[in-house]
């Protein structure tokens, strides 16, 4: 009897197309694992794979930010220079003049907060220009990319900055939690939180609505401008956090930190099925994209590919992977 009252029309629970699309990169990752195994015996060891994730954790945060921005239907190219500028600014403010700082004498603990605040500031400027003044996001954030990098060059006189006595900024990139690098935990944790938020919360879904059809999202009661501004700021903060992690990881901020990363960030997002037209794609896909790029890099290094050719091979492989992802998912990338 109770069966009769069950709704008749309800769609049978079956494999969702969206879910399948998310998994499109898994076969490619498996192929890479096999290739890596053949290329080097070290490849398939726990230590090496964790190393890959750590290598990718900083790019991962940038991709997370960029994917959110793309889903909401915007673009932010300036993330790659925020990655270097934010920690550089923090260090310049804290360090004495003898170590290329400004000698303002800020206490060292302020370094991390200042770094993240720099992210908030850049994101807010982007949001103001793109949303309030309605300027083209592509060209504005490209301009920001160049400007911010230029400010970093100016402040540091083109020098790398390093300071062993700044635990606040160095901690996240160098600490080890439960036997695993903190940056790996941060990377995984942030992605899990974001995936759940975007999948199961109304506010997360509103990003998809805005990216899919902004006028319709507004009509549905979504404050599209506010949400988009928050996303732009969040993306910049994630890039600043990634920058801080890099400082701890590599020990210094170079003048070119993050240079050229935006291609990898976009590639990872698009590989993972995020659309440049907004409204489409998942963060799980983007995360797979990040890991895939990391595996490619790792294999190239382990296989002792000529360093002068690594750039070309890396680019070609990414293009090849984009073609492959297009073929396996059967969906046009846009």
């Amino acid at each position: 009897m109770s069966d009769v009252s069950a709704p008749v029309v309800a769609a049978r629970p079956r494999l969702q197309v969206a879910k399948l699309r998310d998994l499109a990169l898994l076969p490619a990752i498996v192929v890479l694992l096999v290739v890596g195994f053949i290329a080097s015996p070290i490849f398939l060891t726990g230590g090496n794979l964790l190393n890959v994730v750590q290598q990718q954790s900083e790019l991962g945060l940038v991709v997370l930010g960029e994917a959110l921005v793309l889903i909401v239907g915007k673009m932010d190219l300036s993330l790659e220079s925020t990655l270097g500028f934010a920690p550089a600014l923090a260090m310049v403010l804290v360090l004495p003049t003898s170590e290329h700082g400004l000698g303002l004498g800020l206490p060292q603990w302020t370094a991390l907060p200042v770094c993240l605040l720099a992210g908030v500031l850049i994101g807010a400027i982007n949001a103001f220009l793109v949303l309030r003044l309605q300027l083209s996001g592509f060209i504005i954030t490209l301009g920001m990319l160049i400007t911010i990098r230029g400010v970093q060059q100016g402040l540091t006189v083109g020098q790398s900055l390093a300071s062993p006595n700044m635990p606040s900024l160095y901690y996240l990139g160098s600490a080890v939690w439960f036997g695993v690098n903190a940056s790996i935990w941060i990377f995984l944790l942030l992605f899990v939180i974001a995936i759940v938020f975007m999948g199961y919360f109304r506010h997360g879904r509103s990003l998809y609505a805005i990216g899919g059809n902004e006028a319709a999202a507004k009509a549905a009661g979504i404050r599209s401008t506010r949400v988009t501004a928050i996303v732009l700021i969040l993306a910049s903060v994630l890039a600043a956090l990634a920058g801080a992690m890099m400082v701890g990881h590599y020990g210094s901020v170079t003048a070119s930190q993050g240079s050229g990363w935006i291609f990898n960030a976009f590639a990872a997002a698009v590989l993972g099925g995020v659309s440049l037209n907004g409204g489409k794609g998942t963060l799980f896909g983007a995360m797979c994209g990040v890991l895939m790029l990391g595996l490619v890099q790792n294999i190239l290094t382990l296989a002792h590919v000529n360093v002068y050719w690594i750039g070309a091979i890396n680019g070609a492989i990414i293009i090849g992977a984009l073609v492959l992802a297009r073929l396996t998912s059967g969906k046009a990338q846009d």
Binding site: V9, R202, A216
Partner: protein, 498 residues
């Protein structure tokens, strides 16, 4: 108490005055009609009443309280639900999520249960007779399904005041009936409606009060029962109703222009044979699921048939290619004007002259003056309400956009015209202009296919074919009665003709 009261509303867009000191009062519990010709300002008022746009001056109150501030979207949502004239479906999300957009967690908690969402969406869809998988991407919906999803969404809110801006323009007869049934039962439960439509018989069917706008001004508000249809048309147009007898066309020539053989498209139609002669106007009627629109889309190359051929003037068209169809002498009005009808951001003149750009100048250059002349002519012929040929099509009212699409179809002097729901959203008076233009094209030798279930569109046809579930169920020579046609459209009658 009044559900909504708007007074002294004025709104300008540049030099266009869209609303000039208008007022409207919708009493609690009534179904209030708002009518007026294309561009009269109806949709502009709707955008003010739903908080998408701010009037330049004037006041709006809901049940005596002043309207919320524009930025407080959530507060507006509690006052009024709306089906806008322009689709607000988000194509990248599933149908289920579109139905519950921005209120996905149905139990009020913070976390969305997708299985529950899908189930509830499935129930809602079946209530409105929409046969789609709630899990499908909304991009895959037909125009009619999309409209039904919008309606189901607006009505399911539990709002006490609902605005419907031309909800029936894209629906077939049974779907309209279902909508009206729902509206009646909601009204019985105390819901107030503001209803906009160009189908005047619908006003008489479900509305109690009617307000007429003309040229951005309020003309009258009156109980529906006190007006005749002619009086209503008169107040909309400002002229006495003259029944245009319609120009009589010469009898069609014997040579056939369009030849279709054995055309089939999976799930939509099969084994269609049809020929249309020079100067002949043939109607194709049928419900939303009859396959008539898909047939039209195959003919013009928007879709590719599985089997069969389409030939125009004796030459087979390359299947699935719109450029080939255009080059072969086809002009068409697509079902979805926003998708295939016009390019937003470009002017009326540019949009309307796409098929003839080559004729407007030499060596690929376009003469702006020639183009403006041609466009002026069309604006006059089709009664397009605009500030001029250079106006952006995106800023036109819905019905006027439809006329631009019609102008584009006619501009190339096509050998074959394929018109899918050509008068959707077009006002009573403009409809005559459009149909007259079709008549003139036919008299000049075009073969015309009118695909529609508007009886007014079909009446001037030399013959009407009725499709039912993908095949031709009947054929009627001119002079049919409404009842016999409708019964075959709905699949309950026998064809009389043939």
């Amino acid at each position: 108490m009044n559900a909504v009261e708007a007074s002294n509303i004025t709104k300008r867009f540049g030099q266009t005055v869209a609303l000039n000191d208008v007022r409207i009062t919708v009493a609690d519990g009534e179904t209030h009609a708002l009518v007026g010709r294309n561009g009269a300002g109806k949709s502009t008022l709707v955008s003010m009443l739903t908080g998408l746009n701010r009037p330049d001056s004037g006041q709006i109150t809901f049940r005596g309280e002043p309207a919320p501030s524009l930025s407080d979207r959530q507060a507006w949502r509690t006052k009024v639900a709306c089906v806008y004239q322009k689709s607000t479906i988000i194509p990248t999300l599933t149908v289920a999520e579109n139905l519950f957009i921005n209120r996905q967690s149905l139990d009020g908690g913070p976390v969305i249960s997708w299985s529950r969402l899908r189930r509830t969406a499935g129930d809602l869809l079946s209530e409105y007779g929409v046969d789609v998988d709630p899990n499908a991407d909304a991009a895959a919906l037909t125009v009619e399904q999309r409209q039904l999803v919008e309606i189901a969404r607006a009505l399911s809110f539990g709002a006490k005041f609902i605005i419907l801006d031309e909800p029936t323009a894209q629906l077939d007869g049974p779907a309209i009936e279902r909508l009206f049934e729902r509206m009646r039962s909601l009204r019985a439960a105390g819901v107030t409606f503001l209803f906009i439509s160009h189908h005047l018989q619908e006003i008489f069917e479900i509305c109690q009060t009617v307000t007429v706008f003309r040229d951005a001004r309020h003309i009258l508000t009156s109980p529906v029962a006190d007006l005749s249809k002619d009086q209503l048309v008169e107040s909309m147009t400002g002229e006495a109703v003259g029944l245009g007898a319609g120009p009589s066309r010469p009898t069609p020539a014997p040579e056939s222009i369009l030849d279709i053989q054995g055309l089939s498209l999976d799930k939509h139609f099969s084994g269609i044979d049809l020929s249309v002669r020079k100067g002949e106007v043939v109607g194709i009627a049928g419900s939303g699921s009859s396959g008539k629109v898909e047939l039209g889309e195959v003919i013009v190359g928007l879709r590719k048939a599985d089997t069969g051929t389409v030939a125009v003037s004796g030459k087979a068209l390359k299947p699935g290619s719109v450029p080939a169809a255009l080059a072969g002498g086809v002009g068409f009005v697509p079902e979805d004007r926003h998708k295939e009808g016009f390019v937003p951001g470009m002017s009326i003149a540019e949009n309307a002259t796409f098929p003839i750009t080559r004729r407007l100048g030499r060596f690929g250059a376009v003469s702006g003056r020639r183009r403006a002349e041609v466009a002026e002519q069309m604006i006059g012929d089709l009664a397009i309400k605009t500030s001029g040929p250079e106006q952006d099509v995106a800023d036109l009212s819905g019905g006027n956009q439809q006329k631009v699409v019609m102008a584009r179809a006619l501009s190339g002097d096509p050998a074959l015209l394929v018109l899918m729901d050509p008068t959707a959203g077009v006002d009573v008076k403009s409809k005559e202009n459009l149909l007259d233009a079709v008549d003139r094209a036919a008299a000049a030798g075009a073969a015309v296919l009118v695909i529609s279930d508007e009886l007014d569109d079909l009446r001037p046809c030399d013959r009407v074919l009725v499709m039912f579930h993908g095949s031709v169920a009947g054929e009627f020579p001119a002079g049919w009665t409404d009842n016999e046609l409708v019964s075959v459209i709905e699949g309950i009658g026998e064809s009389s003709g043939e």
